[in-house]
Subunit: 232 residues, 2 copies
DNA sequence: TCTGTTGGATTGTTCAACAATCCAGCGATC
DNA sequence: GATCGCTGGATTGTTGAACAATCCAACAGA
């Protein structure tokens, strides 16, 4: 059945990789990484916490070596920090990290929106805006947060670049880890809800320069706010 | 002796991580990754080549598990491609990859140069230009290539962002892998040697917008050239 | 020519072991 | 009383061996 599916889905024989990805069973190491990513995003694992290999291995019912592979992956994503011979720790916000993260965001988000995008991609941005409005109407703080992430992810997706998309995904994962629910109060959201609306409108109207300026201004302000809350 | 060094180098007690990095002995897995990175950059391992775990392990005199860790690291850097149950292969240039890479470069390089940088960072850009001239005078093709990489690395370094720097380093490693010596003929270099000079001059003069425009134009042209040589 | 099967090779994963390293606690010394 | 050095336990780094799962090429048969 697997092979039949494969033949049906790839008559051209070109995109075999894509077809295989769809039906592929994630390896154990990947599932461990996924589980840890989830726990990090959800706030189960707080910054600075130590992750002991043996403990994680036992908890998840896998071997230590497999846990190690997952650690290597997450360390590459800056979610975990490996300190040789001491252990791996949940990444913590060091001095300058906030500025650093926003520097990356300014580079790739502004560049993406200034180049515009296909109608479908623009529609995705609009969808994220609507998602935010809906969450706001339902006072769903959780939903508001992810809507905002979808919005900014959709902006980067305008560029249709796999590499930019994965970079942005990592940055967003970092932000979920650092700026967790506790720091995200309603006061925060009300600001950018209308802001996103404006940015999206400018994008739809083809006023790319203005959209870029608005986005840049938002990012600068957001950085200031976050810096004010957390340390420098 | 080690502890003495440590105390001398960190009177503030703040940057303990940095000090430790300097004296740290790389783990075996890291050295394996480093060796593979070298062989990739040097063209020993060509795109598409299969890397068998057992073979590499025996060649380097390490265990299979250690090789696996190194593979995970390099796969995260897009230098190797892991195909489950089939093996790891040296990354190959897929359709759209060239455009993808240049999209990232446009985003982070142009953004970095438009924001300017400290005099020291600007001096580093100038140094890379001079390095290129020197290599050109000595008809050192090898040196020309790395001088160009240093130039673009120095531009990104203007932003003083660790994250942008590592992103750029990965992109440059990819380019070394894909666009290897064979494709880099002298005709290529003569173009951007004067180009870099102009960009650097504009940067030094504080004409950031112009510097950004020049850099952008260069990147666009470079993408066209590379696309013409390799497939789409 | 196509289809199934089979066997070898390679990967994915586990387990157990040991060396290297770190760390906290505890005396010994001044 | 503070500092120094030591020691023991815990954790990481790395290895080697083992086995199941998967893939692939070659082969046999319809």
């Amino acid at each position: 059945m697997a092979s039949a599916d494969q033949e049906i889905n790839e008559p051209a024989g070109l995109n075999s990789a894509r077809a295989r990805v769809r039906m592929r069973v994630p390896s154990v190491a990947e599932r461990v990484a996924e589980e840890l990513r989830y726990q990090l995003a959800e706030g189960f694992l707080v910054p600075g916490a130590k992750l002991t290999e043996a403990t994680i291995a036992e908890d998840l019912g896998v071997s230590r070596n497999t846990v190690r592979e997952a650690f290597a992956e997450l360390a590459g994503e800056r979610l975990l920090l490996r300190q040789p011979n001491k252990g791996v720790f949940v990444a913590t916000l060091e001095a300058g990290d906030i500025h650093d993260v926003y520097t990356v965001r300014r580079a790739i988000e502004v560049s993406s929106i200034r180049a515009g995008g296909s109608p479908e991609r623009i529609a995705a941005v609009r969808a994220a805006v609507d998602e935010g409005k809906l969450a706001a109407a339902g006072k769903d703080n959780e939903g508001l947060g992810s809507a905002n992430q979808h919005f900014h992810g959709a902006i980067v997706a305008l560029a249709e670049s796999n590499r930019l998309n994965t970079i942005m995904a990592q940055i967003l994962a970092e932000m979920r880890l650092y700026f967790h629910k506790a720091t995200l109060n309603a006061h925060f959201y009300s600001d950018w809800l209308t802001e996103n609306e404006h940015i999206c409108s400018a994008l739809e109207a083809g006023e790319l320069e203005r959209a870029g300026d608005l986005l840049l201004a938002y990012l600068n302000r957001s950085e200031q706010q976050q810096t004010a809350i957390h340390g420098a």
